[in-house]
Symmetry: none
Subunit: 211 residues, 4 copies
DNA sequence: GCTTAACCGAGACGGTACGTCCAGTCTTCCA
DNA sequence: TGGAAGACTGGACGTACCGTCTCGGTTAAGC
């Protein structure tokens, strides 16, 4: 039962990998995901098509890895610039005022989602993930989950200080203000503004029923 | 300088339209959206390719219309069976207990989303809509908006009875419990159960902060 | 047992066929048979690859047909120019002197075989035919056989006038002087000159044994 | 400015060479020449591709050498078995009856050409040789010429005994009966039987013209 | 009632990209 | 340093669809 003999990763060309990531992101930005082709990426990267097929199984996988790689490089660069420990740098602020902290972070998220450079590849990934469950799982795990964990940590801290009901499931709680933003961004069902983010935090923390 | 002389809709073949809808939905169910082709739909429907290109501009448009058509027929059938006025049949229940009513409807929504027959084409449409803003707008308008209006109406009623804070924007308020469900379904970030729906209603109505 | 539904020859594009023949012959002349590709022919002819695959099953088939077509056009042109009935124009001369007539024709054959324009595609066809028996049969039938029949006719006439032994099988007899020429041309085992052609005729007619 | 530094033949691996010959002949027999690849030969021989490229410049060269090697081994084995001096063992029989001797040898040749094991690689070589003049020269020189010399010798002997016209060029004379056989085999223009061989000898020796 | 314009099924066409296969080169590690 | 292994660039393969374009045939309006 020979499984096509997997390639030897230790001999992989780093130079080609980089070139493929760069070409993929560039092309997606220029012509969009649907019109970006494996052939085009290979040509732009100065690489044989087989080199792509050898290491990735689909266009979406290339994009995912390129995206993860980009994130890692950005993060490393940011950490270097600020001189702060990367792990800590990512943590959500904790000023003791949960509402203010959440609004701050959500406003930044909204800004990021509205950034065109970020938008095209991320949308493509999201679209592909909706149909390809495997890919979706990897996107969630590698791109989303780390961010969600930061929210969970902040919410738990708030539960300990009594700012938040102690019996809440933080995973579900954070969906009240995060999912609406994701939804609007994905489906374009409404504008994404700072005011909207603020409103969500208020509605979610205060509840919809009168007190 | 004639603009391509639009086809004469009055002479359109109803039989072909039906066959194309049926073929499209069947193929998408059988092989998935990506592997469904215009050519395949035409062959399956016993129709010339040009007949599709004449009336629709993309695969996604065909699917959208097929889907809308399917919904209309289902609804008509349901109305016929129940003997109730269709307009009224769709309205959300109003027992005076908002929480209970919302839970009821959300549970039904969760069940529908978990129905495999519904899932594949709807996912395809959602995925395509993420990239194609025009399509997305039509999906929202034709498939989603009518449902959302029912929620808005119910929430407004609750504001009048004092069950809900009067200063709320109902469009945003309903996102607190609807978006998390949409999100989980689209991205597979968590299970979709009745219990989850109930929890969302409780968190949203009661708020996350302690009273 | 549906056999892929053969294409409808009546709707075939004459313009494409011509362009493909021309491109094929041009490319083979320019870069040789081995480096001529279907893709290259299609590009040069301004034709989709599928149009080639639809009507021919291999590069060799294209070449064969292009070659036959070329022959037919040449012949038609020659007939037109000379104003003679084409059927007659091709017949071998019959001056009553068999040896002289054969030498004349063989010398012309030798000249033709030494013509570079003719050589490359014909060699390619011969080479392919050696391995592909089907192709070989078609080459023999469409390109060689008509010519051989002319020899057979001339030899039969000679048998009737007593210039040739009456008990000979003309098909075998003509091989004595034609095959050596073919052989030398194919395998390059010796020069192809008028003198050589003359010698063959003399040896074959007179026999190798002393009288 | 070193010219690519030719490999040091003295350090060449005999084991690899053998394995490559065996693999090449086996593959050509199994899948035919066109579908035999350098990569396939290397894999089958358990050899690196570079080892083939180092010592041969083309697939045809490998086959030619493998074929020559096979012939040499067969001949050595035959000589060993018969216990006769190899040089003599190959000479054409000379019973004093030229026609009978030639018929004998040609019949054996016909049988050999009809042997399927011999046919496939030899045909491949012939086909390649038609296009590749260099290869053709080597095939003629290494595989054909030795055999032809034996005929030349026999014909010269016949000239001395008066069985053959003294003024003949034996190289051309032998083509009268050998080329038709080669031709029929290569192009499949007719059957290759003992009777055909006999007829050729008779026609060639007696001549086509009546006495 | 007879033309005539349009839709229709069918499918050939010029193209683009697919995913695979090999050529021939280059690099690494082993004996 | 020859050889086994195999990753690399490059390019052709044969296939699948794209969206456009004829080609008869059928069908419904308008004369």
């Amino acid at each position: 039962m020979a499984t096509k003999t997997a390639p030897d990763a230790s001999r992989r060309s780093e130079r080609s990998r980089r070139a493929i990531y760069d070409a993929a992101l560039a092309l997606i930005g220029e012509v969009g995901y649907a019109r970006t082709t494996i052939e085009g990426i290979a040509a732009r990267a100065g690489v044989g098509k087989q080199t792509i097929y050898r290491w990735w199984s689909s266009k979406a996988e290339v994009l995912l890895e390129a995206f993860v790689d980009l994130g890692e490089r950005n993060m490393a660069a940011a950490a270097e610039a600020s001189g702060v420990d990367p792990a800590e740098a990512r943590a959500l602020p904790d000023t003791g005022d949960l509402a203010a902290d959440l609004k701050n972070v959500l406003r930044a998220t909204v800004d990021e989602l509205n950034d065109p450079g970020f938008e095209i590849p991320y949308r493509a990934l999201a679209a592909e993930g909706i149909i390809d469950r495997d890919l979706s799982a990897r996107v969630v795990e590698q791109l989303l989950e780390p961010g969600l964990q930061l929210y969970v940590a902040r919410l738990r801290a708030a539960q300990e200080t009594g700012e938040l009901r102690a019996d809440l499931d933080p995973r579900i709680a954070l969906e009240l203000f995060l999912s609406p933003i994701a939804q609007r961004w994905l489906q374009g069902t409404g504008e994404l503004s700072h005011a909207y983010a603020d409103t969500l935090v208020e509605y979610a923390l205060g509840g919809l029923a009168p007190r």
